[in-house]
Amino acid sequence: MVEGLLAPINLIIAALGVGFLLPLIARSSASIARGLFWLTQVFLLLISSVWLLRLIDGAPAVEVITAGIQPPFAINLYFGLFEAFVVSAVNLSAILGSWYLIDYFKSRAASMSVYLILTMGISGMVMTRDLFNLFIFIEITALATYGLLALDKRPASLAAGFKYIIATSLASTFFLLGTMLLYHLTGTLNIDDMLLHMDRITGPVGLAAGVLLLVGVIIELKPYPANGWGLDVYETVPAGVAAMISVGVSAGAFFALYKIVPLLGDFLPVVAAVGGATFLASNFIGLRQRNVRRMLGYSSVAQMGLMTLALAVLYMLGKSEYVTLVIGGLFINHLLAKAGLFWLAGVVDRPRTEAWVGLRHRPILLVILGILLAALAGFPPFPGFWGKWELIMQLSAGELPFWVFVVLLGSLLEAAYLYRWFGFALQDDETRAPAVEPVKLIPVGLFALSLLATGHLVADWLGLEAPRVLVPIYMGIILYALDGMPGRLKALLVLGAFAVYAYPVVMGLEGLHWLFGLILLLGGGVIAFAVLHRSDARRGFYPLLGMLLFSLASLLEASSTLEFFFAWEVLTLSSYLLISMGRGAREHILTFLMFSLGSAFLILAGFGFAYGETGSILLADLSKVEKSATLVFMLLTLGFLVKAGAAGLHVWLPGAYSEAEDDFSALLSAVVGKAAIFGLLLAAMHLAVNGVGAINQVLYVVSWLGLISALVGALMALFQEDVKKLLAYSSMGQVGYIVTAIAVSSQLGWVAAGYLTVNHLLFKGLLFLAVAGLVYQTGTRLMYQMGGLIKNLPMTYISVLIGIIAISGVPPLTGFGGKWLLLNALFDKGWYWQAGLAFFASAVAFLYLFRLIHTVFLGQRKQAHKDLREASWLLLFPQILLIVAIMAFSIWPKLLIDPIASSFAGIFPEALIWDGTMLKTRLGYWDGFMVINIVAGVFLVPLLILLFLSRFMQIQKVKQFNIVFAAERPETPETTHYAYNFFSFYEKALGPLLKPRATAFWDGVSEWSHTIGSTLRVLYTGNGQTYALYVLFYVVMIYIAVGGMG
């Protein structure tokens, strides 16, 4: 009995039966009708999920043939694992979607039955193996959809619905024709039988049949440009219906495509092109879209395009075994995320993206939105990430670089408009926080959780050590669960957990990994300590901080490119979210994300081509790459250079570094930025050392790029009034030296790189933390509004002083060692011009450093700052640790250089010779220990002399206005402090050299992208007739494309 109830055919019967009954019942009792409606839905879900579980357990697939009659006269269903999966997913979204349609159903009883029939139609589309049945189910689905649209009764919906009908009815006409032609050729309507008679599908008729069949299905998937009608529907109908169309109907149509793909052998490139064009074009147009639902519509269409592309390409490459992972991943990702987003759009009900301001104050809503968007953008651990990864791997392995480019570009564009939307949601405007019933969030929240869960399942299924790779994510979730605790407690928790986790990690590493283990994990821990200085709760901060720190650890632990990329993406996402917490960050986070994703995609492509050649995703096997080594190295280097903020690619950097929260900026610049250096060294170590291909030329270019970054960073830093922007540009410049040092690719060069990296970590951490304290105390970031603070914040002053001496390369502190090593390396390599530029850049750096310390700490103190106190000791403590480290490395440079040299041991011939405390290279020598002693001597002796002389002078300590002011008295500190536009003459001297060219260029790129979007969307006139014409043209074009003309 139970077994009978659970028969798959009941999916059709129950829905159909109840569907027809409902209007009748509704006449007598609306509530009974509703109850029955829900019951049926639950029943449908129950059947499909029970079967899904059974099939997963290995039960054989079920073939249903109704009434004992052969199809097409009866219904022929095949219920395998995939079918069960898709049907369950569709039923689940249907039942959850109807949650959002309750009001709609109340007012229109008939719509319930239509809804059920729609669900049924989709299930049928998925399950049937018979072409004519497929046609019927397509038509049922279509009719049900039309019904839902017609019941809405708003003019816009009606218009959209009519357009939808015109287009889809044309499509189904084509499908029908195609079906009949195939039948004519093969004498059967069953897909499996047709596959047996593939040899009969030839000649013009065969071609025409294929084209018509293909177009019939493809049009249902709304390919660009024949999809204007679809978008109109997404825009106008209720969110629940839109979600159903986007998720359910598309799923059915896509499954139909999946079924007929084997029939389409020769058409696959065209199918791929159709998918690719749709993916790219829709995402371009999405850029221009500010209507949330229409934007989601474009995204939907794009996702379908991507899946079409993936399907076709995988079949083309004969890699159909990856379909499960790629398509499955992309499909479930799209299903959960897109349905969720449509529902959310319905719940929040603000049509324009820019109206989503204030969501920040509804944490649950924001988290859900964040998860859904992250999934859609292909961030780990969501299933889309795995799908996209495998897709890129297979595309690269199949030597289809063009498709790799299309997929990555499209994904980037999609992320751009999705995250622009998210950016609005992040805006801080409490008054505009949406009022949402929590009940409404249950289904969408459920989907968000399912996304996380499926992510885990996929990782597990892939055989990754899921717990370890996913640790950052778990940490984030656990800490988020504990987010109600007091701020400091959470901070301690994060730091404690990190310490416990990181210690064995560092201990277990060796070589380069060990070095960067210390830099990233130890340095990260020390600098992250500063978060303790704030006692407020900082909702959301600590979970993300945990995610960030743990992802750094994962990055180091990664043994395969997949793990590396996973950690890299988690790092990107968590830094993006952390940056977005800064007050003024809104304008910059999108840029940050775009460049981060661009960088990630370059890296992904690099890994892909490496996999393509070696067939291995182990990091260690990167060194086996030979043929495409140059390409892989270029892609990886470029990717990491973006994150390192190389000149031209740096436009994201100043905004992100300066607008992040003050204590996080330190972490971002000093530690997170080093991940890119780690990546660069990793790539160089595996690929550049062999010197195959044109890698040496690449390195030469990189060396210039590094130094140009150093110069540009220094020059830009000169003209900043914002202290954090100044430090941000300074970071860019300093990292430029490191990049150049890496490019030198010799022992000297890499030791210099390691040395500079550690040094940058120390002084930039120091400076950013000091500035954090400063900003926290003064409440401003503008340097000219400060001044004379040495008297109030002496410890902070000492930090900054040590920091700037260390950064500027003035002996005796650590900075000099870095410059010495770098210049020696450059001389040794024969890169003399670069050496000159390096020197000049470091001289320019001196200017902004002086400005930093002068305008903030020296000069005239403002009256408002009279009573400021020193920064919190919790903020000073890590600074003191860093100062101690700087001093120790200054006195004993060997402490630093030896471990660095040992982590690169054996790669290059030895060029550094220790002679006691003396360090020698071929060209020069330097004894850090002796130098600091001599300097101490020449400093202390005059100091003692002056102290002695002071005994004979009455030295009066005076106040800030006791200055010689041309015989006048200063009026106010503001007008007496020389700070604003400090280096105006430099601007005047260099003039056009200082134009922000990179920013202009990227603005241009953004402008072009939008223009492309505008151009592409001109086709969408809104006229249903035009859309029908496109459909027709589409058929013709496909026909031409598959060779129908020749």
Binding site: P72, L170, M180, L181
Partner: protein, 122 residues
């Protein structure tokens, strides 16, 4: 002239199809577009029937008049004809829905021109 029936039906079907397309793509009036669709539908049905037709064949009724052994060559394929029935029903349904839409649109907009249905675009 010795025109086979199938040629006549096929060309008629195609002609209807094209006329219907023309109607759908050029007529601004929604009702006319629906008529166009009906024509397409009819055309397609005719084509379907033609595909199954065997020149000189007999009705697909297995009785004494048909030799069971040669039935496959002699008998007109019954499947398309059967399918056409379903297709006609579906076509009818769609036409009905379209007309319903037309009524609704006319109610709301007081116009039947497709050009007035451009609220959403781009």
């Amino acid at each position: 002239m010795d025109l086979p029936v199938s040629t006549i039906t096929l060309s008629t079907g195609l002609a209807l199809l094209l006329i219907g397309m023309w109607g759908m793509l050029t007529q601004k009036n929604i009702i006319r577009m629906i008529i166009g669709f009906s024509l397409i539908d009819t055309g397609v049905h005719m084509i379907m029937v033609t595909i199954g037709y065997l020149s000189g064949g007999t009705a697909p009724i297995i009785n004494d008049a048909v030799d069971r052994l040669t039935a496959l060559q002699d008998v007109v394929d019954p499947v398309p004809s059967a399918l056409v029935l379903t297709a006609i029903v579906i076509g009818l349904g769609i036409t009905a829905v379209m007309l319903a839409f037309a009524v609704q649109i006319h109610d709301k907009k007081k116009s039947l021109s497709i050009e007035n249905c451009t609220e959403s675009k781009w």
